[in-house]
């Protein structure tokens, strides 16, 4: 398939996944804001999250204080900020439009309708718009998009590049959310201070892992197990291991003459996570581990662009 087409498909799915990740984050913090006495923890968590997602500067340019309501609005609906959910939905739609002939009609209509509805929601919204409802809707649209992708697309290169975009973005998002909460994941956090239950609920809900945790561990929440679940569990859909496994297998299906080294690095990342034990990660230090992981992920993204897509210099 055309490199340019692959590039648009890859970014289309990255943007939809990003919109969903942001919606989950807003949703988790929004729920927290409804609980009594959550003020200080909430602001701290919002600040850390915006830092991990490189949003702080753009936010500070428009707003003085980190105030939950303003953050929710900014992340969800800011038209001018390219990283908002609204902008992600627009970017996903524009990428899809550029290659609408390579998508199934169902997938195109889903993405187009999502953008049209988001646009009119953003235009119509009242001062007291229900952010909770909006992010819930975004999650549903993302679920629908994914379902239509899996349910209607031919399992050819177009599908694989779409999936590569999804899982690279998801790995990136999980790693960043963990980064925002890294102090809670430090070794010794277990034994020492009692972990803040608000913080845990935000972290786990943002990754759709709250119920999963209970189901897997049937135990109280401990930092060690949270980290294990989100980094090393193969059966956890948003864990780093799971995402890397999917990236590797989809990459294998599209390999070309020059992509051997890229595939090797993807395989290495997968193997590293697959054969790691949580004790080793903790010994290395969770923050260091995450930092290294994000750097390798970035390298992988660059290599994929160079081998298959439209390299940034040409684009």
């Amino acid at each position: 398939m055309l490199s340019r087409t692959a590039d648009h498909l890859y970014w289309m799915s990255r943007y939809i996944e990003r919109a969903e990740s942001l919606a989950r984050l807003v949703d988790a913090h929004y729920r927290m804001s409804l609980l009594p006495h959550s003020g200080a923890t909430l602001s701290e968590s919002l600040r850390a999250t915006m830092t991990a997602l490189h949003m702080s500067d753009a936010y500070a340019a428009k707003h003085e204080a980190v105030e939950p309501r303003a953050v929710f609005e900014f992340v969800s609906l800011d038209r001018d900020y390219g990283g908002s959910i609204l902008s992600c939905l627009r970017a996903a739609r524009e990428n899809a439009r550029a290659v609408r002939g390579s998508l199934t009609s169902e997938l195109w209509v889903t993405l187009n309708s999502t953008w049209l509805d988001a646009r009119s929601l953003a235009a119509r919204r009242s001062a007291n718009a229900d952010i909770g409802q909006f992010v819930e809707w975004v999650k549903e649209r993302s679920h629908l998009t994914r379902g239509v992708t899996i349910g209607t697309m031919l399992r050819d290169e177009a599908f694989h590049f779409t999936r590569i975009g999804t899982f690279l973005e998801r790995a990136d998002s999980t790693a960043r959310i963990l980064t925002a909460h890294q102090t809670d994941l430090m070794p010794g956090a277990d034994a020492g201070t009692v972990p803040d239950p608000y913080q845990w609920s935000v972290l786990l809900r943002a990754l759709s892992a709250f119920e999963v945790y209970r189901r897997v561990y049937r135990d109280v929440i401990t930092p060690f197990k949270v980290a294990q679940l989100l980094i090393l569990r193969d059966d956890m859909p948003r864990s780093l291991l799971r995402c890397c496994k999917e990236v590797y297998s989809n990459l294998k299906s599209v390999s070309n003459e020059q992509s051997a080294e890229t595939l090797r690095r993807a395989g290495e990342m997968h193997a590293m996570l697959h054969f790691s034990r949580m004790e080793e990660v903790t010994a290395q230090g969770v923050p260091q581990f995450l930092e290294q992981f994000l750097a390798r992920l970035r390298d992988l993204g660059d290599r994929i662009a160079y081998d298959f897509l439209v390299p940034p210099a040409e684009a």
Binding site: M1, L2, R4, R93, E94, V99, G101, N256, F308, L309
Partner: protein, 471 residues
Amino acid sequence: MVGKPYDEMYSGATSVRAPYRRYAEWLSDQPAERLAQKRAEADALFHRVGITFAVYGQEEGAERLIPFDIVPRVLPLEEWIRLETGLKQRVRALNAFIHDIYHDQQILKAGVIPAEQVLCNSQYRPEMQGVDVPGGIYAHIAGIDIVRDDAGEFRVLEDNLRVPSGVSYMLENRKMMMRLFPELFSEHSIAPVDHYPDVLLDNLRSVAPTGVADPTVVLLTAGAHNSAYFEHAFLAQQMGIELVEGQDLFVRDEAVFMRTTQGPQRVDVIYRRIDDDFLDPLVFRPDSMLGIPGLLAAYRAGRVTIANAIGTGVADDKSIYPYVPEMIKFYLGQSPIIGNVHTWMLRKPDDQAYVLTHLEELVVKEVHGAGGYGMLIGPAASKAEIERFRKQILATPERYIAQPTLALSTCPTFADSRLAPRHIDLRPFVLSGRDVSIVPGGLTRVALTEGSLVVNSSQGGGTKDTWVLES
């Protein structure tokens, strides 16, 4: 002067023409609210599916709809068969003409058309002289604009042989009608149109360079910002071929390749939807960012087919149009089945003298104008406009032609929630390759403003579904 227009549906105040009889009965049974609701549904669906045209300089995702009217245009089978035969005849002659012009120029030697009319035309491409194209076919896709005059006669208003557009609306309008009013399709026997992409692909494959067993066909677009982008994407998808932009293609050793995720892949046939001028910056406009350097060399070497061929504009120019009936006689030895609209050529002194004294009742068109621009409609024009045109005609008469103001036929159309007659035309799409074929019907365009004769979508025109009744 202008006669009373032919109404497609009614032959008198209350009498309905035969092909519309069943539809009219159905229509009179429909409550106004249901029709209003269906019209709203159609708009919402067109937006959702993104059947839109891009408007330059507008916010992303703010494409506009081409208004769709829910009252179909109906043609009885016998009328269609006559049209079909006439259209095939015309397009065969036009292809023969273009081949002749770029080879022996017999029609010029025979004095049927003045040589300077052709050779000095800006659409004549000397680069094509002596180049053989597969099957001798130049206009693979032709959109011939047909109107019906006040006597009920069909006439050709214009030939479009470069990159005619609109076929996607023909197909989508049909889908929309079937979705909105399925009951109408069980009550009528309507010739299907949805095989158009298959016929098109088959034709494109049939004109691949000789020796290519399994040709790769691509559709070349100017990109997502082009106003007809929806149609490009739609056709590529329906045919299952790649939708490429100039940047996706390159030429090496006089062969065309596309950049793919698996490395370069050879391209054999390019269905291009950009104008000649932008195809190859090495030969035509050097500032074109849309084209592929070296494409013309590969084309001349016979290593790739371009559809439509380069240089077809010489045959659909308004200054050549008056000669098409002569071409039919010259190349096919037949008399034309569908006539032209009478045309005065202002470079001829007699014609000019007549036109200048009758400007207020004629339509004057620029020879190279398109899309309804650069046109004077005498009866609707102000004195100042008429004087402006008079000056322009006197300065450069060869740039203009004139035609009588046609009373284009009308068809009932929704306007402000009420049915009212509006002027229409018809653009059937004639495909040439292995054979010449036409999907029954075409795109009916309708001027939505009362009294307006301009049906172009860029000037507020809408479209209708077009039915050819099989019985």
